[in-house]
Each structure stands twice: as C-alpha cells, then as structure tokens.
Amino acid sequence: MKRLDALVNVLTESRTHPHTVRLFRRIVYGWYLLSVLMLVPSARQFWGPDSLIPLQPVRPIPLLQLLDLNAVRPWFPLFVIAEVALLIVGMTCRWPRITALLIYIVSMNLNNRAWVTLDGGDNLMQIMLIYLIFMDPAPPSDAPAEGVRGYANNAITNAVFLIARLQVVAVYLVAGLGKVTGELWQNGTAIFYTLSVDDFTLPAVRSFVADWPVFSVVATYVTLLYQVSFPWLIWNRRFRPWLMGLGTFIHLQIALVMGLFSFGLAVMSSYVVFFTDAKSAAVMTRAAVWAARLDLRGNAARVLRPAAH
C-alpha cells in the first residue's frame, strides 16, 4: 500500500522532468523549423497548386488535409508562414497546449500535402507533436501543484513523457528485431548495399566501401548490436550516455553521408527524452549563456534560461 501511495504521489504531486520536457519541446519544434525552412526555396513544388505530388488516396481527418482542397491550395504560403510563426512561439513555451495543438494541425497539413517526401523521421516527429500537446513545459514554480487540476496536469505530463520514451524504445525494438532476421544484416553486407545505392551515398563513400569491405561488415554489426541493445540498455543510467553517443554518431552518418538529413536529426532529437532533468537544465543554461553573448538585449537569454525550482 505504501508503494502504491508513493507511486501515486510521484505521478500527481510534481512533474518528474520539467526541464527535459521544456528542452524536448524546443528541440522538436527546432527540428520542424529547420525542416520547413529547408523546403521553403522549393515550396511550390511541395505544396503549390501545380505540385506533381499526387493527393493521398484516403483522408481520415479532413482538418489535417486542407491543402488537398483546390480552393485552399493557392494559399499554401499562409500555412508556411503560420508554421514558422507558431513554431517560434512554441519554442518560447507560451500558451503551450493551444500552441502545440495549432502546430500539430498546421504541420500535418503541410506534411500530408507533401506526403511522398516524408521519411521515418517525419513519422516519429508527427507522433511526438501529439505527445507535446499533453506535456506541460511550464517552469515548476508556475504550475498549479494542488487540487484536481494540478494533480491532473502533473499526471498527464508525467505519463505522456513516459509514453514518449517508450515510443523511442518501440522504434528501436521493432527496427532491431526486423533487422536481426534480415539476410543482409546477418551476413554483414547491409551497410555495403545501402552505401552503394545512388540515393543514399556519396561518390567517395561508395568507392570506400568497395575498397574496404571490413568497414561495412563492422558498421553493419555495430548498427545491429546498437539497435537490438538500445531498448534494454537505455534504462541504465551508466550505459545511457555511451549509448546515446554511439546513436548520435550513427545518425549523424545517416544525416550527412546517406543524405537522410531530417531523419538523422529527428532520431537524435528524440534522444532528448532520455536526458536527466539536471542534464537538460545544464543544456538550457549553456544555451542561455551563448544566446546572451549573441544577443545584447538579452531577450533570447530570458526565453531560453531554465526556470528555477
């Protein structure tokens, strides 16, 4: 009974990772901001009326596919502007839930119109956008701590934060188990083939993997081992930094060498949910110091500085 009381208290009395929730929100919205700004120079080809991207065959939620409507399509620049503005507001953590909801709606409209350009990173981030609607990023001192509203706010934030962690674990679990049974992963040539395909390589890298087969064999088994062990070892605080370091290295390679830039960055962004709260606070403090150096008026520093408990 005492353990149950303790569990209920942990769930309802305070938010377990307030700084990590805040940092995670900024990182995810930062990822979306970078993604949309990268696409802006070719915006017409992704979202414009004469885009060659076919419409999706099914429309489960019409509100998220407004750009499929002929009457709305010419107004795509408004969606892009709204997305950028909302993401900036979202990163300041003001009006968190309504902003998060609006960001989800606008992002999904842009994503659904350009659906053929989406990759696994977009898929993961779309799910994280939903979770962010339910996470309260307010500083601990601002949140109501007592009463049903306060308990519910804390409990929802804590539960959804844990769901976000489990989602990342699920991705690795399914990906790892899927790869273990794959012939090319078992015989150590998976990385060789991927880095030999025109779409996922650089000319110098293609020559390198042809000349040094030992590299692709080692890289294949390291990737496999990493993916299979992630769901178990990530919960161990001693292994966690090493695991995330290796994962960051692998996903940087995916972003820069394989050219899946947004995918690599999306998975790295999702690692933030495994930061301890102290680590997140330290990251935000450092960001605030950098921002203060760049911004003489100190506006950015005020926005980025983590709130004290």
Binding site: L52, I53, I61, G259
Partner: protein
C-alpha cells in the same frame, strides 16, 4: 488522497490503453492478430500510424529512376535522368531542399510502375492489339501524365515530344565491388512517346 488516486487511476488507464494498443499494433502478424487488429488500427491509424520507413528493417538495395528522352528539332536526345542535377546538389549540400525534391521523381516512377503492373496483370496481353490497348490506358493515367510533366519541366531543349522510362537500378553486388560498374543490373520499362502537351499539369488528379 482520494482525489489523487482518482486522477492517477484515470491517467493510468489511458496510459495502459495507449501502450497496449501501440504494442499490439507493432507486433508482427500472428494467429491472434485478427481478433484485435480492427480495434487497434481504428485507434492507431488516424493519429499514431507507424510506417515501414520508421523501422527500415531491410536495407535499400536499389533505386528507382525516372529517365527521359526528348525530340528536339526533329532528332531524339539520348536517355538521361532529369533529376541528376538535383542529386548533384543534394550531394554537395545536405541542407538544401534537393534531398526532399528527389523523392518526387522517385515516387512518380514507383507510382507509374505500380499502375503499369496493375494494368498488365488485368489485361494479360498476348497480342499487339492488346498491347496497344494497354499503352492507351497507361497514357490516360494520372501517374503517366505526372511523370511526363516532370520530364517536360526539366527538359534540356525546346522539345516537341517526350518519352519516359522507369529504371530500377541495382548497385554493384558485393562480389563485383571491385569492377567499378555504375550499376549491376536494371529492370526497365519504357513508355510510348507523347507530345509535350501531354505533360500539362492542368487537370491531373
């Protein structure tokens, strides 16, 4: 305390349902799948869909290209990949929009291949008259018109006619890695030439 318990129970129930649905949704197909998949998909698909690309269990082993050739001033050019400049830009700058733009011709090639296969299976042609019917049906498809529109937008000269081809290229296999071939083998399907006006994007659904 009772209030806390009520909140914890409600949030815990939603948490348990979501985690259970996610787990069941991601489980490989098994003899029990049919008992729960309808309800689980009904919950997961609209908002929490998780596609093959998220897990990528199989490595990429081929690439799909949409190649074109053009009739300019009465003579035909050779086959070329209109997306080649984009690929070059993507390789030089991973932060440009070229990477995502490249998905468009790849998807056009896949979409056209799928339509061609569907029509081919349905008509099961064994004579030239049937082949002509098949080609006529392909040319009417939105996927073909989009592919032609892509080629026309990226034409290198003032063309009167254009022909497209879908090529699935397999890179040099591991055993032939030292031969420096651009690719090991290819599946190709070329389509009938059409006037460039067929690539007008107006009215393509």
């Amino acid at each position: 305390m009772r209030c806390k318990y009520a909140v914890a129970a409600a949030v815990g129930a939603v948490f348990a349902i979501h985690v259970a649905c996610t787990a069941l949704y991601l489980l490989p197909q098994n003899p029990m799948t049919r008992y729960f998949i309808g309800a689980v998909n009904g919950y997961m698909e609209p908002l929490f869909a998780q596609r093959w690309l998220l897990f990528a269990p199989e490595p990429a082993t081929s690439s799909v290209k949409l190649w074109s050739r053009y009739e300019c001033g009465g003579s035909w050019t050779g086959w070329s990949d209109p997306a080649a400049p984009l690929m070059l830009r993507h390789q030089h700058n991973r932060l440009s929009s070229a990477g995502k733009l490249l998905y468009i011709p790849t998807n056009l090639g896949r979409e056209l291949s799928r339509d061609t296969l569907d029509i081919g299976i349905r008509l099961d042609c064994h004579d030239p008259a049937c082949e002509a019917r098949k080609n006529a049906e392909i040319v009417r498809r939105g996927s073909f018109r989009r592919a032609v529109a892509w080629s026309v937008r990226n034409r290198p000269c003032e063309a009167s006619n254009v022909q497209v081809m879908v090529a699935q290229l397999y890179p040099a296999q591991f055993s032939e890695r030292n031969r420096r071939k651009p690719f090991s083998f290819a599946n190709i399907y070329d389509y009938p030439p059409v006037p460039v006006e067929a690539g007008s994007s107006r009215g393509i659904e």
